[in-house]
């Protein structure tokens, strides 16, 4: 399989406030990319814009999956085209069981042309598959009967996101801090699971502040975001360097981007009151 996710000169605003200011990024199927950068630099925004969150307005530029212009598609159409994002803060859907949610999701993603109301994947077959994937992720089978993210611990939520990725087998996955809020064992398990499920089987864009996830999934490319732009791209060693020494060098090297980043953070404050 050869697929390409191509982001060209992407500008994104939230509530008319510019966040991304010209992002360029190309990810090939099977590659692993790390996306790093200080808080508030725009990493999640990039992911949400690719996933099609309606509040993230694309004011300029485009996102292509092969020859499909994703910016013209709704979030569900993008999902069915093969885009997946594991969210930094997944929301709870009370009253809806994980298993029912995933069965419907998997059906739609696997049969992109399915019309509303048409049959879902056969229950028995689906249950078996789900059970297998949950064993692989060392998840309690009881999990499938719980309501989506409802009352989940931070770690359970992240694992549920990985399980969802496993069930949907997307072409490209954006993992937004899927390793945060986990204890050391859970990080190791999550990292190994992502490697097992995702490595070489999709294109991965890993957003992280830690090193464990990247140790298990060494990136071919590391991108550094600051002030809504990718200011530097390197290999696995760049990720290690940023992890060990922080962003001081980057902030000094790109004063314009740093100013933009500070400005975004400053604007945030009144909202926080």
């Amino acid at each position: 399989m050869s697929h390409i996710l191509r982001i060209e000169n992407l500008h994104v605003s939230v509530n008319d406030k510019p966040i991304l200011r010209g992002v360029n990024l190309v990810i090939k199927f099977g590659e692993t990319h790390a996306l790093m950068g200080p808080n508030g630099s725009g990493k999640s925004t990039l992911g949400l814009a690719i996933a099609g969150h309606p509040n993230y307005q694309i004011t300029e530029g485009s996102i292509w999956l092969d020859d499909v212009n994703l910016t013209e598609l709704e979030a569900d159409e993008r999902s069915r085209a093969g885009i997946f994002m594991a969210f930094q803060r997944p929301v709870a859907i009370p009253g809806v069981k994980m298993a029912d949610f995933l069965r419907h999701a998997a059906t739609n993603v696997r049969r992109p042309d399915r019309k509303e109301g048409e049959d879902l994947i056969a229950m028995r077959e689906f249950r078996k598959e789900l059970k297998g994937k949950m064993e692989q992720l060392k998840m309690d089978p009881e999990f499938a009967r719980r309501y989506v993210n409802d009352g989940f611990s931070g770690g359970e939520m992240k694992r549920a996101e990985i399980l969802t990725m496993a069930m949907l087998s997307p072409k490209f996955s954006i993992l937004d801090e899927t390793d945060s809020g986990l204890d050391a064992d859970a990080v190791r398990l999550a990292s190994a699971s992502i490697a097992e499920i995702g490595r070489d089987k999709m294109g991965l864009l890993i957003i992280t502040h830690h090193d464990k996830l990247l140790e298990h999934n060494p990136p071919q490319f590391t991108h550094v975001m600051l002030g809504g732009r990718i200011v530097e791209t390197g290999g696995a060693e760049l990720a290690r360097q940023l992890h060990d020494h922080g962003y001081d060098r980057i902030r000094k090297a790109y004063p314009d981007a740093e100013a933009a980043n500070q400005q975004m953070l400053a604007k945030e404050e009144p909202l926080a009151v």
Partner: protein, 443 residues
């Protein structure tokens, strides 16, 4: 608007006047006590005004569009004008008895022979008022007072027919009893439901009302009385799915005796306007009631529910949960009250109402209330109202759900808490399907 203009608009000397009432008495074959009761209620009807829009119970109701002159009570054998009215609660259900009415008159009844031999009665209320006269006389309109309001008086005087279910002492009716009311376009249903469970009796009753098409017009003015003696168990389901051009007025009452248990599930998806006054009275120690409500409204539907959990005796438990989902410009009103009488110590009362709005133009009023005249009680209440969360919709869409599938799923999840309480599978399925049918295709 003043009361008098409402009266002018509503009153219909022709179809609901003295002549109509006289004609009804003439056509009917009622026992004497019943005729007397009707006449008494007719006097009350004539002495009352239509509800005053300034009255607490009616101030959030709008019945200006109701014109009684367009409807006429049905007193004779009627044609099958309401054929095609769907039945939704019977999928996969093996019933022990059933009774079906069209435009307020019973057209068929059936009852398992074994149960009949054990003294169970199921069938037309008009017939049973003759065949089981003393029994019906004892209970009919014993919980509903014709003075409550003009609709109650009208219904007590002019009820056309309905359903009578009687389960004798210690008889368990295992399989459900199914009751179905159909109402055709422009028709009237003045039916009454009377259920009596003697001591230790058990039954499950599935009641549903429907019309041939979604936009059928009609006028229903009905009554429900559930009477439970000690240790009896009743599961009563009421699916209101009249056409969305229909007017629905009802007084619904339950009286629950010593250590008896009532589970009452109400689902309302139909009618253009509904005003339901639902009361559960816990009359002897140890009585327990659980009331579940599912409302789903659209267009300009307007459903008003006034509910009361009345603890008249000590050591009783009442649990109440209503959930509504509203779309378009529809409106729901819930005014709930837990009333604890003097001496009703160790009362455990709970009421909750949650509303989910699918559009900005929808409106849900939620007015909980407590009136407590005993000091050793535990009563809690709560309500929530809010718009469907766009973040949830996006989350589901990012997992391949279309927007309308996402909304449908969120709605189903919202009702799940009630579905979890409903132990009858066909009811869960029917409600799920009714809800799924109702959710619009959101662009």
């Amino acid at each position: 608007m003043t009361t008098s203009t409402l009266t002018d608009r509503l009153d219909s000397a022709e179809t609901f006047g003295q002549n109509a009432f006289d004609r009804l008495l003439e056509k009917r074959i009622d026992p004497l006590w019943l005729t007397a009761k009707r006449k008494e209620a007719w006097e009350i009807f004539q002495g009352l005004d239509w509800p005053n829009p300034r009255d607490e119970n009616w101030m959030r109701s709008d019945i200006r569009g109701l014109k009684l002159s367009k409807f006429a009570p049905n007193v004779e054998e009627n044609s099958q004008i309401a054929t095609g009215s769907p039945v939704r609660l019977l999928d996969g259900v093996d019933v022990s008895a059933s009774c079906r009415s069209v435009n307020g008159l019973v057209v068929s009844e059936s009852l398992d022979e074994g149960l009949a031999a054990r003294g169970v009665v199921v069938g037309s209320l008009s017939r049973c008022a003759r065949d089981h006269s003393a029994l019906v006389e004892k209970y009919l309109h014993s919980l509903i007072c014709p003075k409550s309001d003009r609709f109650a008086a009208l219904q007590t005087a002019m009820w056309s027919d309905g359903y009578f279910v009687y389960v004798p002492r210690n008889v368990r009716v295992e399989r459900p009893i199914h009751l179905h009311a159909a109402m055709g376009d422009g028709q009237v249903d003045l039916s009454h439901t009377l259920i009596v469970l003697e001591e230790g009796a058990e039954a499950t009753i599935l009641f549903e009302s429907s019309s041939p098409t979604a936009d059928t017009r009609g006028f229903h003015c009905g009554g429900v009385e559930l009477i439970q003696h000690g240790n009896s168990h009743l599961r009563y389901v009421n699916l209101q799915d009249w056409g969305k051009g229909s007017w629905h007025f009802a007084h619904q009452r339950a009286s629950v005796g010593r250590d008896a248990q009532l589970q009452w599930t109400v689902a309302a998806v139909g009618a253009r306007f509904a005003q339901v006054d639902q009361r559960v009275e816990l009359v002897e120690p140890g009585a327990r009631s659980q009331v579940n409500g599912v409302m789903f409204t659209q267009d300009r539907q307007h459903l008003v529910y006034n509910t009361l959990q009345h603890h008249k005796a000590p050591h009783c438990t009442s649990d109440f949960l209503y959930k509504s989902v509203l779309q378009d410009r529809s409106r729901t009103v819930w005014r709930g009250m837990i009333k604890v009488s003097q001496g009703a110590q160790k009362t455990d009362g709970y009421q909750r109402n949650d509303n989910l709005m699918l559009s900005d133009a929808a409106r849900a009023d939620s007015i909980p209330g407590l009136e407590i005249n005993a000091d050793d009680v535990r009563c809690t209440h709560g309500s929530t109202s809010g718009r469907v969360d766009e973040e949830l919709i996006f989350y589901a869409q990012s997992r391949g759900f279309t927007r309308s599938e996402a909304i449908r799923m969120i709605v189903t999840g919202f009702f799940q808490q009630i579905f979890d309480r409903i132990t009858i599978e066909s009811v869960r399925d029917a409600l799920g399907a009714a809800i799924a049918r109702q959710v619009r295709k959101y662009e």
